[in-house]
């Protein structure tokens, strides 16, 4: 049966060539859309692992800072104490600019025993950072006052980086960047957090403890507020900050807003792409429908003859749908050949599973589309009366 169908299509290959080309291109477009959807969905399902609800970010662009280490420490320490003494404030931490949901990022290399890992997100934070963001530790501890003046600079890494460095082995206590000016000592491992928004993948991260030299350039502050802290408090907080940081421009943002903005940056292009792809699919579906319908009308005599020799209406309609499916299978085989190159050549650095799931979904989608478009013409063909059709001829 299948062989017979192939023969039927092969005989009309010229006529079907454009149709197959169209199905092939549609498959590639759908594949691109599904790849992104699957990728974002897989990321979306992972837990955030931190709490941004009541966290405010303060950016202070400051040029005139105290020059000596001591006065710098005093300057930032006083501000921190002043903030902590406010009844609405729960925890405070100065950080580097790459706060959650921010656009800016800092990346660095990490070395361990010949392993050289590039593009590790590099954060500088204070002792209370884990409380501000509600981070959960997998092993070890977050850094604290006892780390001050330690021989090695204490760092916390995330689970993702731990897996890459040590596999399932223990990370706490190990030394990184050995042989450099100041090696790093891992004191804790935190669960992966999605600080780039709900749809972003998890990346390697390393958190360094802020020391006096960090205060030369830090211009970001994260504050966890208690429930009920309102705009009136924000106004007071602003005044307090402005009176302490006299030469700075200050902006207070809420992480909830930043999260929405960051998610939109992913979602808006995605939605535009899906609208465009949706339009293309409707276009293709209508065309497919029209061509199949037309072809059936032209084959009336052939169908009439088959009916006359005893084929049921159902088998006629089944034949026409299968013909369309065989046609799309040829196009899909070529399409899959191209699509499979993505996981094989590791393009765009996405997990292979994303591509494979996307290929599967796109194949199903195209088949479903073809079946839907062929059903009605098939039903029409089934309704052809042999007498009428043969008489017409």
């Amino acid at each position: 049966m299948l062989k017979h169908l192939f023969k039927l299509i092969w005989n009309k290959k010229k006529q079907h060539f454009v149709l197959m080309l169209e199905i092939l291109v549609s498959f590639l477009v759908i594949f691109a859309v599904f790849t992104l959807v699957v990728y974002y969905y897989q990321n979306y399902r992972k837990p955030m692992n931190f709490d941004y609800e009541r966290v405010w970010a303060v950016q202070f662009r400051i040029e005139e800072r105290p020059t000596t280490y001591d006065s710098m420490y005093l300057f930032f320490g006083t501000l921190q104490n002043q903030l902590k003494s406010m009844p609405e404030v729960e925890a405070v931490s100065f950080t580097s600019n790459n706060i959650p949901f921010a656009m800016s990022s800092t990346q660095n290399n990490v070395n361990y025993e010949g392993l050289h890992i590039q593009q590790v997100n590099d954060y500088t934070a204070e002792d209370d950072y884990d409380n501000v963001l509600g981070l959960s530790l997998q092993s070890g501890r977050w850094f604290s006052k006892e780390d001050a003046g330690a021989k090695y600079r204490p760092v916390v890494i995330n689970h993702f980086l731990k897996e890459r460095l040590f596999g399932s082995g223990e990370a706490v206590g190990k030394l990184l960047d050995k042989g450099s000016e100041r090696p790093l000592k891992i004191v804790g491992v935190i669960n992966d957090i999605k600080e780039h928004g709900d749809y972003q993948s998890v990346e390697s991260a390393i958190y360094r403890r802020a020391d006096t030299s960090s205060y030369h350039w830090m211009e970001e502050l994260l504050i966890r507020v208690k429930p009920g802290a309102n705009v009136a408090f924000e106004g007071r907080l602003y005044k307090a900050l402005a009176s302490h940081l006299k030469s700075a421009m200050i902006e207070i943002e809420h992480l909830t807003d930043k999260r929405r903005a960051r998610n939109n940056m992913t979602l808006v292009p995605m939605i535009i792409m899906m609208i465009v792809a949706g339009f293309l699919v409707i276009n293709v579906a209508l065309g497919l429908f029209g061509v199949l319908w037309y072809n059936i009308n032209r084959r009336k005599s052939e169908i009439g003859l088959r009916r006359a020799v005893g084929a049921t209406g159902q088998s006629i309609s089944r034949q026409l749908v299968s013909e369309a499916l065989v046609l799309s299978t040829i196009a899909l085989l070529v399409g899959c050949f191209f699509a499979v190159q993505f996981p094989l050549l590791n393009v765009f650095d996405m997990p292979a599973s994303v591509y494979l799931i996307a290929i599967g979904l796109s194949v199903l989608f195209i088949y479903a589309l073809v079946v839907v478009c062929a059903l009605y013409p098939g039903k029409q063909a089934a309704a052809i009366y042999p007498a009428v059709a043969l008489h017409e001829d």
Binding site: V18, V25, G235, Y238, S247, A248, I250, I252, N283
Partner: protein, 411 residues
Amino acid sequence: MLKNYFKIAIAVLKRRKFFTFISLFGISFTLTILIVLTAFLDHLINPQYPDTKRGRSLYLNTTTRIHTKHQSYSNGPMSFYFLNKYVHSMKTPEKVAIASIFLPTNTYVNNKKMVIDMKYTNAEFWDVQEFEFLEGRPYTAQEIANRDHVAVITEETKREYFGEETAAGKYIEADNVKYRVTGVVKSVPITLLFSYGNMYVPYTLSKTEIGNTGIGGSYTAIILARSKADMSKIQEEYQQVIARVPLPDNEYDKLLSYVDPYLTSFTRTLFGKDESSGVGTFILIISIFALFFMLLPTLNLININISRIMERSSEIGVRKAFGASSRTLVYQFIIENIILTLIGGILGVVFSAIIIAIINNSQMLPHLYLTINFTVLAWALLACLVFGLFSGVYPAWRMSRLQVVTALKAQ
């Protein structure tokens, strides 16, 4: 002859309404999306309020400092000091507007939070940019030199802060400092990076730029040439100036900086490499996208057209039997197809006008007003012709090869 073809085309369109609908749907929606995109690009590239002198303006938004040995590099806007010392002192330009990138800051009015995007400017900014003043006037060079706390605000900021009353002469508090409002201007959309801000204040009030004598900072410049012919002279002079700039820190040993026309100033940052401006890459990317996007609807149209032609094989057979050459038939069919795409094009323009009206009304990007102008329409027409030609040629060729006997027999 053409009139005849037109009549035939309309007759054919009326015969198979479903196919006509599919064709028109494909053509009009493809064009709608292309026109909306073109309108957006047109908004980004062509002169807009208040940056109306783009024709003779050159822009400077970033410089790149490179260390050739360490392969480290730094890229970003410049310091006021750098622009004032090296760009403002150039001889050829008529005026140099220096303004910071917009810097957000908060203010709290009646228990309501407002985010104000501040822009620090020099006095020439107001001459180069043709802002429409709804109230008052810009601040003067004298006020800037005096470090007076003066500000120009936009209509939107005025409405949020002062409500409906007049604002000129009143005081606005931002960043814990009180500024006297000298004027109110019509708002600018955020897409115009060189002009956008909610509040404009003298550069002398900037807290962050005091004492910054490095190259990097947060300022950009617009250089206004006396005439179009002067633009290349300015570019040459700027390269000479750049060659003389001392690099203060040992971190970097090479300074790359260009003053460019508007579009180039962005493509250079996005796609430029070394000396190349990136405009070519930009146009290539846009064209590839448009072509690929049109590929599916075109294939669809070819498909439908083939079916259509086969349906008309009897007509073709008769015409061939009476001596019409293949070429005549091909012309006829291509013209028919172009007529079809033009009708689709007109529908597309109507649809896109509706969509653009919706975008403008919804204010997805505040103060952004897209328009369909002649440039956009010309591009749409071109797209229509390309569309019609591409989707007409292959079916027409197939048709012309039809044998008279087969064609007549098919009936």
